[in-house]
């Protein structure tokens, strides 16, 4: 059991999300940075999908009520356990009574606290992720708050194994796009259904603009500012399914990227879609930061997942060895 001591808005329990329920109108939810979540779980020997706390408002504090191994992954941040520094992308064992404090990130937006055994709230429609809008999953379908007692599951492996080791952060280890150039994140996208309805000039604007992720951005979607994409004639779209990463252009002309908590349906023209291999990086992009889009074709977009899968597989194999030492 762990006890939440300090939690500001919008910190929730998330796993890899709820698949297969879109047809009931249920968005997937799930970690905004699934690679960080899986990495934390790999460090601890959990299933990759074990539920964690996604911390996106700081400081965040919790108290351990038992000896529990945990890991911190995701955004680069300062943290302490019982007053001593804990490195990011590190796992260690807390003693009952220890207080973990997580400060604001230096880089990135979301920190994942994973626990050996995973958070053991009930699965709803196959997932423990919090669905804030509909009020289910996680702890009573809501954000965490001080006083919450959160159950931790039984570890499936050997809890006596070694902890106190770390991993190279995913954004450093995984080659992908050119990393941050002047703190601008390059995001690879594929064209989507209505790309060609935009004029050459508007397409050029889309590709050349350095877009700012506006303050009106959250787990539901990122609203971008910095340019306007307009159509010569309005397009009447019928309501259709969408997935996280889709870049839609509402009549205002300012694109919106749908993220983990996005509505299951959309009705705006879709100019592009962020590829799976970059969506987790986007999940770490904070409001106020900048992105540019670059085009990738289907074949290369599929191939771009190989370094991500390879990173996670190597991390799991190494962590399994360390724990056995």
């Amino acid at each position: 059991m762990i006890e939440i001591l300090t939690s500001h808005a919008f910190n929730t329990i998330q796993d890899l999300g709820r698949s297969g329920a879109r047809r009931f109108g249920v968005s997937t939810s799930g970690a905004m940075d699934p690679v960080a979540l899986e990495a934390g779980n790999a460090l601890l020997g959990n299933d990759g999908d074990a539920a964690s706390i996604e911390v996106q408002t700081f400081p965040f504090r919790l108290r351990f009520h038992a000896d529990i191994a945990f890991a911190l992954t995701g955004a680069d941040h300062d943290a302490t356990l019982a007053g001593a520094t804990v490195l990011p992308w590190w796992c260690m064992r807390a003693k009952a009574g220890d207080i973990l404090t997580i400060g604001s990130p230096r880089r990135g937006a979301r920190v994942y606290v994973t626990f050996q055994g995973g958070i053991d709230v009930p699965r709803v429609l196959g997932s423990r992720s919090t669905h804030l809008r509909a009020g289910f999953g996680g702890v009573e379908g809501r954000a965490l708050r001080a006083g919450d007692m959160v159950p931790i599951g039984q570890s499936r492996g050997d809890t006596a194994g070694r902890v106190d080791f770390g991993a190279e952060p995913a954004d450093v280890a995984i080659a992908g796009t050119d990393p941050l150039e002047n703190r601008v994140l390059r995001v690879r996208v594929m064209r989507a259904g209505e790309h060609d309805l935009f004029s050459d000039e508007m397409q050029a604007t889309f590709w050349s603009t350095t877009w700012k992720i506006s303050a009106r951005s959250d787990r539901g979607g990122y609203r971008l500012t910095g340019g306007k994409l307009t159509l010569a004639a309005p397009v009447e779209m019928r309501s259709h399914g969408v997935v996280a990463g889709v870049v839609q252009v509402p009549p205002s002309g300012e694109p919106i990227i749908q993220m983990s908590d996005a509505n299951t349906a959309g009705g705006y023209p879709k100019i592009a879609a962020v590829i799976q291999a970059d969506l987790w990086r986007l999940g770490q992009a904070a409001p106020g930061s900048f992105i540019v889009f670059s085009e990738i074709n289907y074949h290369d977009a599929v191939a771009a997942m190989a370094p991500v899968s390879g990173y996670l597989a190597r991390l799991r194999a190494t962590a399994d060895l360390y724990r056995a030492l």
């Binding site: 509909a134 594929m190 989507a192």
Partner: protein, 231 residues
């Protein structure tokens, strides 16, 4: 090459082919051509039913004259998959609106039907006339989308058509019976909502603990019954 590119052989090759496009590597949208009608929507249901059992299809999500496929893994051969779907589309027998009949008792007007007065002004009908027309219709669930358990209902009498609001009502209560354009529906969540509320129903549209979490499913029929009128 991606089929989203203009050079694709499958986009608009035949007028009656559905438009097929990718949304990233894990989703594909199949859009029927032509106007909305229930026969076309019935083909969409049939297509979704068939595609849901195809390998690698995590789910087939019904929209309004379209289906989105969510994949477990990026498909190996997108062009062949698209061709197979088009081939299936042309030989599909539409599914009728043969789902269950759902009867929903409605408290029309009152505290939660706060847009009823505006609808009477717009339609030139009395409130009782609007309520009679709405409650005499039989509606078909076209799709479940947008929020958990929310059904897009087709079959609204054009006399009580009312466009969606440009500024949503901030806290519309779950169970609100609403009109949005030529569709009607029952709000499944208490949340901001751009549709027009004309009444309220004490019906759990969605319960994640149920085996079928959504009360409505595509192809179901819905009747609204007057439980009470509060004017």
């Amino acid at each position: 090459m991606s089929i989203n590119h203009r050079a694709s052989p499958f986009v608009g090759a035949l007028e009656k082919d559905p438009k097929i496009s990718l949304i990233g590597t894990l989703a594909m949208l199949v859009e029927a051509s032509g106007e909305f009608d229930l026969v076309q929507q019935g083909r969409i249901w049939a297509l979704a039913d068939a595609l849901s059992s195809w390998p690698n299809v995590q789910e087939a999500v019904v929209g309004v004259t379209n289906v989105m496929l969510a994949f477990e893994q990026p498909p190996d051969d997108i062009d062949t998959l698209a061709a197979d779907i088009i081939e299936l589309w042309h030989r599909l027998v539409p599914r009728n609106a043969d789902g269950k009949l759902i009867e929903i008792p409605v408290v029309y007007g009152g505290e939660f039907g706060f847009d009823l007065p505006a609808l009477t002004v717009r339609s030139g009908l009395s409130a009782r006339e609007v309520i009679r027309i709405h409650s005499e219709g039989e509606y078909t669930v076209c799709a479940i989308a947008s929020s958990p358990g929310f059904g897009y209902l087709h079959g609204l009498d054009p006399r009580i058509f009312m466009p969606r609001k440009s500024v949503p009502s901030l806290n519309m209560r779950a169970g609100s019976v609403t009109i949005g354009g030529m569709q009607t529906g029952v709000a499944a969540l208490t949340s901001p909502n751009g549709w027009n509320a004309i009444g309220w129903a004490s019906v759990a549209m969605f319960d994640p603990g149920r085996e079928q979490p959504s009360l409505m499913a595509p192809g179901d029929r819905v009747r609204f019954r007057i439980d009470r009128i509060e004017l």
